[in-house]
């Protein structure tokens, strides 16, 4: 995916003591020098833990880890470690905590919020060498996997038993389970099947302080606080998952995919509303507008119905008789809403043809625009029509094209804001439109992120959705896991350094601490 241009950081590394820290004071430089020294001193100890070949110090090799899927944010990591066991992960984190050195977890690096953005003064902990499917247990409908296992590899391992792993983010061929856990990944089918958090029975985690802790297992509803639920989606700020026991779901008897073409988005939206109102719960409901359809046609010749101003894809799965009944219902409702063509596919190859255009949309947009920004806002589904109208108005007023591709069933928008990065000021104008779209989502009671996560990208937007008290509570929770503040710092929650003076965010000590009635450590 092409984003905003990557800033050139080629001459920045801890070796030459320069960082991206904007503060240029002598004090700041001394601090940075100190941090770089501390990091250098750590290298032999990291090699002692992960072995010589498990630690990357070479600049060129470190640079290959400088960003995740959101390439606009890039930093060359101070050092990269590639542990092979849970114990090694825990030891590395314990060392970081003891030495006050920040660490950043990384799975396959497919994230879209710069959650795996490295630190020049820190350790990047990559789980790519922990790729073993430890066990498939069809009798207990679960599998035990290491964090570096690719999402789709769980389904591949479970398929011979008639099972699959339900969360299916679009990057599922490469994205890692550990990354899915950190981001609480969903996927096109989360409308029916939920997110990663609904599919994890057990975890082993390495805490930021270097402890290995088991939570849950093959039995559901483990006693005590739901630490699994709280850990999933914590974006690497509470530690690193070193093993996961995930639920396997029985492969559905039948899957039917419908494609309905409408002349305009309003009609498509009406069809979605009536499907929901009739009590049908599809596995997935996706929608594309004219601009994204045109891009997909140009890129992959998906052969969607000509003249479509909106294309709706509805996928149904389950027992064959139920799927047939629901498909007939969806067909009727689409016709009533004005669909001028409906295609239906139940075979894998035909279904793939319907999905081809939708799945290519992001990449395809790169063909019609030199650069683009993807947003990930969510609105209540009933507000979709109004918000799409507002986005069209924003686009018309600013002269910036916006292609709309979205998960219509759950109101998760992925507007693609198109611009030419060679044109001076275009990137800023696009960012403005993109920000205005997020404001729309918040105004309608939605969310700033449905699936990409907060990371660095949206940390400064958190105060638009949460009160200072909400954020302070989240920080209190975070510090229960990471009192040293070394776990993926400056991600997920806003900080003054990243966001300037965050309006209203309390920076002084907890009131109970100030009163001398409590300690915080």
């Amino acid at each position: 995916m092409r984003d905003r241009p990557i800033r050139d950081r080629s001459d920045e590394s801890p070796d030459d003591r320069s960082t991206t820290d904007p503060a240029g004071t002598d004090r700041g430089q001394a601090d940075r020098a100190d941090r770089a020294d501390r990091l250098s001193a750590l290298v032999p100890r990291l090699k002692g833990i992960c072995g010589d070949d498990g630690v990357i110090t070479d600049r060129a090799r470190r640079r290959t880890y400088e960003s995740d899927g959101l390439t606009y944010h890039a930093e060359v990591p101070g050092v990269v470690v590639l542990p092979t066991t849970a114990e090694q992960v825990a030891e590395v984190l314990g060392l970081c905590s003891a030495e006050g050195v920040p660490f950043v977890p990384r799975g396959a690096g497919t994230g879209l919020s710069a959650g795996a953005l490295p630190r020049t003064d820190g350790v990047l902990v990559t789980t790519s060498r922990m790729r073993r499917v430890v066990e498939v247990d069809p009798d207990n409908e679960c599998a035990v996997v290491q964090p570096g296992v690719a999402n789709l590899d769980i389904t591949r391992a479970a398929a011979p038993y008639g099972y699959y792993y339900a969360p299916d983010p679009s990057s599922q061929q490469v994205c890692s389970v550990g990354g899915n856990i950190a981001e609480n990944s969903g996927g096109a089918h989360c409308l029916k099947y939920g997110f990663t958090v609904n599919h994890v029975l057990g975890l082993q985690i390495a805490t930021p302080q270097g402890e290995l802790v088991r939570l849950g297992g093959k039995a559901p509803e483990a006693p005590g606080y739901d630490l699994i639920g709280a850990f999933i989606g914590s974006e690497g700020t509470l530690g690193i998952a070193t093993e996961a026991t995930v639920r396997l779901v029985r492969t559905p008897q039948k899957v039917t995919t419908l494609l309905a073409a409408f002349t305009g988005m309003d009609a498509g939206g009406e069809a979605v509303s009536s499907v929901v109102a009739e009590g049908v719960l599809p596995a997935a409901v996706e929608m594309m507008d004219a601009l994204s359809i045109a891009a997909a046609e140009a890129a992959v010749a998906c052969d969607y119905p000509e003249g479509a101003g909106a294309v709706l894809i509805v996928e149904l799965d389950g027992p064959a008789a139920d799927v047939d009944a629901d498909a007939a219902m969806v067909r009727r409702l689409c016709e009533r809403a004005g669909a001028f063509e409906i295609r239906e596919a139940s075979g894998a190859a035909e279904r793939a043809r319907i999905w081809k255009g939708r799945k290519s949309a992001f990449a395809a947009v790169g063909r019609i625009s030199p650069a683009y920004i993807v947003q990930d806002g969510v609105v209540p589904r009933t507000a979709l029509g109004e918000v799409l109208g507002d986005i069209a108005r924003l686009s018309a007023e600013s002269g910036i094209r916006v292609a709309n591709v979205f998960h219509a069933g759950d109101g998760n928008l992925h507007p693609l804001v198109l611009f030419d990065d060679a044109e001076p000021g275009a990137g800023e104008r696009a960012a403005e439109v993109s920000g205005a779209i997020l404001d729309l989502c918040i105004r309608h009671g939605g969310s700033i992120t449905g699936e990409h996560g907060v990371g660095v990208d949206k940390a400064c937007s958190m105060p638009r959705m949460f009160t200072p008290e909400d954020l302070e509570t989240m920080d209190l929770f975070r510090r229960a896991f990471d009192p040293a503040g070394v776990a993926n710092p400056e991600k997920l929650l806003p900080t003054p350094r990243l966001c300037g003076e965050v309006p209203g965010v309390r920076k002084d000590v907890h009131p109970l601490v100030a009163q001398g009635r409590a300690e915080q450590f």
Partner: protein, 436 residues
């Protein structure tokens, strides 16, 4: 929970409510909150402890004012909905005031979005009635009659539908909670898809009010399915019951729930609930029926669907197991108290959650021993994956040294969370695992 833990935590509170005896009027130090406060009575007792006051805020703000006033005085608070599960967990070490949330009774239903926000004090039944008018429901079974939204969430109490819809925590989108210091804090949101910030609602679900006072919860909803069937069959023993359950799990019939009921240590009744479009329901019921020899098919749920075993005064057990270990766990429960005969046990056989009941007639010391030995056996037969917790027990059984929790993984992290969110330990102190 060890005695040592108890002492450690108790010592930390030695400087607690120093002068709550001073004359502050009937409302005591909580008068400052501006919320109606009355003196506590025997009927307000929590785990045997009669609170000095009962505060009844009208909304989140009032609840925050109560917590702030209590926090200033170091008073221990225990939140309460309808009071149907007040005895759950260990008895709190202190209960200076009960926060009665029954006035936080409101329902904000966004039918088109399949979302509802409800006040913690809203009776689940009222919520179901409102949702039903739009053909929707919160797929959480009414396990304990009379429960409120806040009570179900704070106890994390799920029923048979947990198999398809997930436990109650899976249905929660957002939550508003009053912190120990009276600060109002929100997490999650009102949309079905949202990964912004920590999902703290998960943490409060099942926390028995030890991390905050839940005042409002937002849930995702489901349409009421057009048709339902229950296929029921008898299995002579637990091994056979598991075979039946496994055969349904391996089928393509997508059941909503698979329940097992063994009232007397003998035969096991297996119930399979199917829900979905009218057009498909018959074929699915026939397919399940063919897998369960001698089965019958009904359109209505059997009596006592999802209800907990036992009666008042019994010691209520919750057991979890990997589903394939069901027979060993069923047998272990039946044998748990040889003196009193086989225990009744029932629950979600397809997911691996069972409930058992030790009769009230069991001598407290015997009950404590029975729990300990059953726990050891459950852990052994499940390879350490299973657990036994005591949800509810009479004060006499607690008094005889009951450990309601057993092994709780991640306890040090739980303590650390409690320390950060409730540093003075004033929210339902001692009610949770490890004396938290």
């Amino acid at each position: 929970m060890t005695g040592e833990d108890h002492q450690d935590l108790a010592a930390g509170q030695a400087a607690g409510p120093a002068d709550t005896d001073r004359a502050d009027g009937a409302a005591g130090p909580l008068a400052a909150s501006g919320v109606p406060v009355r003196p506590g009575t025997d009927r307000d007792a929590v785990g045997g402890a009669v609170p000095r006051w009962v505060a009844a805020p009208a909304d989140t703000k009032g609840c925050a004012a109560v917590a702030a006033a209590a926090s200033r005085e170091g008073l221990a608070l225990v939140p309460r909905g309808a009071g149907t599960k007040t005895g759950w967990g260990a008895p709190p070490r202190r209960c200076d005031a009960v926060v009665d949330l029954s006035a936080l009774n409101h329902v904000d239903h966004a039918a088109g979005d399949l979302v509802v926000e409800a006040g913690a004090g809203t009776p689940m039944k009222d919520l179901a009635d409102v949702l039903g008018t739009s053909g929707q429901r919160l797929p959480v079974d009414p396990v304990v009659p009379g429960s409120t939204v806040g009570g179900v969430v704070a106890t994390g109490l799920s029923g048979p539908g947990r198999m398809l819809y997930g436990p109650v925590r899976d249905l929660i989108l957002g939550m508003t909670v009053v912190r120990a210091d009276g600060v109002v804090s929100n997490s999650g949101g009102r949309v079905v898809k949202n990964v912004a910030g920590y999902d703290l609602g998960k943490l409060h679900t099942g926390a028995l009010g030890t991390l905050g006072i839940i005042t409002s919860v937002t849930f995702r909803l489901r349409p009421v399915p057009p048709a339902a069937r229950v296929v029921s069959a008898r299995a002579d023993d637990p091994a056979r019951a598991r075979e039946l359950v496994a055969s349904v799990l391996r089928s393509h019939t997508a059941p909503t729930a698979i329940e097992a009921d063994r009232p007397d240590g003998g035969a096991v009744t297996v119930h399979v609930l199917l829900e979905g479009p009218e057009e498909g329901i018959r074929a699915r019921a026939e397919e399940v029926s063919a897998l369960l020899p001698g089965s019958s098919v009904a359109e209505d749920l059997p009596d006592g669907w999802g209800a907990l075993p036992g009666g008042p005064g019994d010691t209520l057990l919750k057991l979890t197991t990997p589903p394939a270990r069901l027979p060993a766990v069923l047998d272990a429960v039946a044998d748990a108290a040889p003196d009193t005969g086989p225990l009744p046990v029932r629950g979600s056989a397809g997911s691996g959650v069972l409930y058992g009941a030790l009769p009230s007639a069991t001598a407290p010391a015997s009950a404590v021993r029975a729990v300990a030995s059953l726990r050891a056996r459950v852990e052994a037969v499940t390879g350490g994956h299973g657990s036994l917790t005591v949800l509810d027990a009479p004060p006499t059984v607690h008094g005889a040294g009951l450990d309601p929790w057993g092994t709780v993984l991640g306890l040090p992290l739980m303590r650390s969370i409690k320390q950060n969110l409730d540093p003075d330990g004033v929210l339902s102190p001692g009610r949770f695992a490890g004396g938290i």
